[in-house]
């Protein structure tokens, strides 16, 4: 089955081509079927491949398979081939991308049913799946980069899908530009990697890297550049402001791209290059620091947001911060585990939010919602499951993954654990605030909206249910040994991180310490949940209007700590000024002046010479005589 791996990215590409070219001719059911069908087939193939990899792991092999497709660049010592790498890490990512991708495609059939760009939407979604699959399957940095840039492109296309709205189009542009900054950093890192290791294949680089010294400066530079790229793609400080704005796209886009797959590309890339990072402890510290800062900052903003999608967006940024924190403290498996569980419950949350928005006739402000529990029962139950999961309340999946990260953080640096714990408190609070404002209490919307409230169709609710089940039981993937579990995921992924584990030593934490940590975080999460419920559901508190007076901290949080304004002043305005300078002075006055001026001079000189054509024979003869005289004189003087 592994030699059929090239089919897995190819099928969504075919879907893109068909739906793209036939977007005005194919009927909507065909488009939806084709778009979802190709992803389903890819998913089934991925299951087959996963089974093979699993079997290989069970047999004790390292289960790393390379499938070359064709030689692409051979220039001197540079050999880049399009080839796919199947190992435990990419096998799991395959399942996530195709599986959750398939569910979201099915969801979109219902959600985008009334949209005129239905076929275009499915084409873009398929294209995105194709690029994401290239990213996770690439066996060298170049193929990964192709996927990296491709998902950035699809993100731009899909965020600005309703491009006729200028703000949405600008949001798409913002996402693309910030991603490009990361892409530049990635590219420079790739150049450095080629310069240092002489090859770009993973199987060539990582064994060479193990021979290098810890703290090697070239590796430090490479990993810092790779991390900057990851901050762009995975929305960390300083390149995170695009993700909340990306909520301008349709909700399935937010679910697929900005919850489950694209934003996890950064973590995947770092997990794949884990040996390089382990050899640069400074970078890992930077990663952890930025991860936890982002987590706290985003959580602090999410507490006061009123747009349901914005809350989820900042929640995503925050959870991504946790994943980077996990990577930074060496919990590679833990971070990846959190990627998996986060994919489940965040996709579910976004799809549920889409369901709510759909029911509320495109209203996204939570202040107009309330009491939707009885109108949208399935949505309510699934979102409740997701909220409990993300808050880290046992025994749902979020608890296990977040706890593993926090345990590693505790072993590394107590301060990190404390900050992570505070972030978890925030998380529980704002998620239950969101849930309470939306589903409990009295309905606060207009009568018009009230009459349209209905549960979503089956195409939308079935994916919700499936994701809810996964969010609930997903924790069983990697139950820590402290709770008597078999940590199956860690075992499965061990060959990927073997080199790093060899360097840092296996992770050890007293079981008793672990129990205490787990208990503390679980209890704290439950307490915050109850607090939020009591404030918003029971007491019926409603957040104030946009211009209502707020305390300083609340104001800072509500205005997203003015980060956008800061960037605008520091970066956007100077660039605009520079651009205006180049346009007015260098382009218009300088270059145009030169070129047009040249043309004008030619025209003027032509006008002048035209005056020689007097049509008067006498003047012609006169000129002839003068010319002859001049020639003779010239000949006379020059011998």
């Amino acid at each position: 089955m592994i030699d059929l791996i090239w089919l897995i990215p190819l099928l969504p590409l075919v879907g893109f081509l068909f739906n793209g070219i036939g977007r005005n001719t194919l009927p909507k059911p065909v488009v939806g079927l084709l778009g979802s069908g190709v992803v389903l087939v890819s998913f089934l193939l991925s299951c087959g491949i996963f089974a093979e990899v699993y079997a290989a792991r069970q047999a004790g092999e390292s289960a790393t398979f390379i499938q070359p497709v064709f030689e692409w660049i051979t220039a001197g010592s540079l050999n880049v081939s399009l080839s796919f790498l199947v190992d435990p890490l990419s096998a799991i990512m395959l399942l996530i991308v195709t599986g959750i991708g398939f569910l979201i495609h099915v969801y979109s059939i219902g959600y985008m049913k009334h949209d005129a760009g239905f076929a275009k939407f499915f084409a873009f979604l398929n294209l995105f799946v194709f690029f994401m699959l290239l990213l996770v399957l690439g066996s060298n940095y170049v193929v990964m980069f192709i996927g990296w840039e491709g998902v950035g492109l699809c993100s731009y296309l899909l965020i600005g899908f309703w491009f006729k709205n200028k703000e949405f189009a600008s949001a798409g542009k913002k996402a693309f530009v910030m991603n490009r900054i990361g892409d530049l950093s990635f590219l420079i890192a790739v150049f450095l990697i080629f310069n240092t290791f002489g090859t770009l294949e993973f199987t060539g680089i990582f064994p060479q890297a193990t021979a290098m010294a810890m703290g090697d400066t070239t590796l430090l530079l490479i990993t810092l550049l790779l991390f900057i790229a990851a901050t762009g793609k995975s929305a960390q400080i300083p390149l995170f402001t695009w993700l909340p704005d990306a909520m301008a796209g349709p909700t399935p886009v937010s679910a697929l791209i900005h919850a489950a797959t694209m934003v996890t590309a950064g973590i995947y890339m770092i997990a794949r290059s884990n040996i390089l990072f382990t050899l640069s402890p400074v970078t890992l510290q930077v990663v952890a620091a930025i991860g936890i800062c982002t987590a706290l900052l985003a959580a602090a903003i999410a507490i006061t947001q009123n747009d349901i999608k914005k809350v989820l967006a900042y929640s995503t940024v925050s959870q991504l911060g946790y994943m980077f924190l996990g990577l930074g403290v060496g919990a590679f498996t833990g971070a990846f585990f959190h990627v998996i569980t986060h994919a489940f419950f965040k996709a579910l949350l976004f799809l549920g939010a889409g369901s709510i928005i759909h029911a509320m006739s495109n209203e996204q402000d939570m202040r107009s919602m309330g009491g939707l529990k009885k109108h949208l029962p399935i949505t309510y139950i699934t979102m409740l499951v997701a909220t409990i999961a993300i808050a880290g309340i046992p025994p749902l999946s979020g608890f296990f993954s977040k706890d593993e990260i926090l345990a590693h953080a505790f072993a590394e640096n107590k301060v990190l654990w404390v900050l992570g714990f505070i972030g978890a408190l925030f998380t529980a609070f704002y998620m239950f605030r969101m849930l309470s404002l939306t589903f409990f209490g009295k309905f606060r919307g207009t009568a018009e909206q009230s009459s349209h409230l209905h549960e979503s169709p089956a195409t939308m609710t079935v994916p919700l249910v499936i994701l809810a089940i996964l969010s609930a039981v997903g924790g069983l993937l990697n139950v820590p040994s402290a709770l008597g579990g078999g940590h199956a995921l860690a075992d499965f992924l061990s060959p990927v991180f073997a080199d790093s584990t060899a360097l840092t030593g296996a992770f050890h934490l007293d079981h008793s310490t672990e129990y205490v940590l787990m208990a503390v975080s679980a209890v704290a999460a439950i307490v915050m949940a109850v607090l939020a419920y009591r404030q918003y559901a029971v007491s019926g508190a409603v957040p104030g209007a946009d211009d209502a007076p707020r305390g300083l901290l609340a104001r800072l949080s509500y205005h997203k700590f003015y980060v956008d304004e800061f960037y605008d002043a520091i970066i956007v305005r100077p660039f605009n000024a520079l651009s205006v300078f180049f346009y007015r002075i260098i382009d218009r006055a300088g270059i145009d002046g030169l070129v047009n001026g040249l043309g004008k001079r030619v025209g003027e000189s032509g006008n002048g010479i035209r005056l020689l054509q007097t049509g008067n024979v006498g003047s012609y003869i006169f000129m002839m005589v003068i010319a002859v005289v001049a020639l003779l004189a010239y000949g006379f003087f020059n011998g």
């Binding site: 006498g618 006169f622 003779l632 004189a633």
Partner: protein, 165 residues
């Protein structure tokens, strides 16, 4: 020897008169006299054939033709268009420049030997005729065709078109 200079002076005087008179008929007549002085020059060079041909063709045919056309167009002193003084001045200057340049270039040439007639008879009709009909037969024949063409052309050009009103 002095004959040459006297006749040369006459040529120059009458040439100047040609271009400076206002009446075009006078101009033609002065040119006729100038050509006569040229004929004398040819005789002085013992180019008898050319002297006679010059007399007949130029003075007898070409200038008469000019006179015919002048009479046909009924041009006289009154209908003569005037040129502005500036143009006249510039024209004279240009001509003088040309003359000066030519004269200056000729000063560099060292051919101030007196004309020594090696063979004084080459200008005689019979001798010239021999050369003409032996070495230069082809150009001779072609020039006859040339004259035919010119005749045809002139007739065609000047014909009154009967279809036009």
């Amino acid at each position: 020897m002095s004959v040459f200079y006297f006749v040369a002076f006459l040529s120059i005087f009458f040439a100047l008169m040609t271009i400076f008179t206002k009446n075009p008929v006078h101009s033609v007549l002065y040119l006729v006299i100038t050509f006569f002085t040229f004929t004398v020059h040819y005789i002085l060079l013992n180019a008898q054939f050319l002297a006679v041909v010059n007399f007949i063709v130029y003075m007898g045919a070409i200038m008469v033709l000019f006179l015919f056309v002048l009479m046909l167009l009924n041009l006289n002193k009154d209908t003569e268009p005037l040129k502005s003084n500036l143009v006249k001045f510039m024209g004279v200057i240009a001509g003088m420049c040309l003359l000066v340049t030519l004269a200056a270039s000729f000063r560099l040439l060292e051919i101030s030997d007196p004309v020594v007639l090696k063979n004084p008879d080459i200008g005689l009709v019979s001798n010239l005729g021999k050369v003409l009909f032996s070495d230069f037969l082809l150009p001779f024949e072609i020039s006859s065709i040339l004259l035919l063409t010119a005749m045809v052309g002139a007739v065609l050009l000047a014909k009154n078109d009967p279809k036009k009103a």
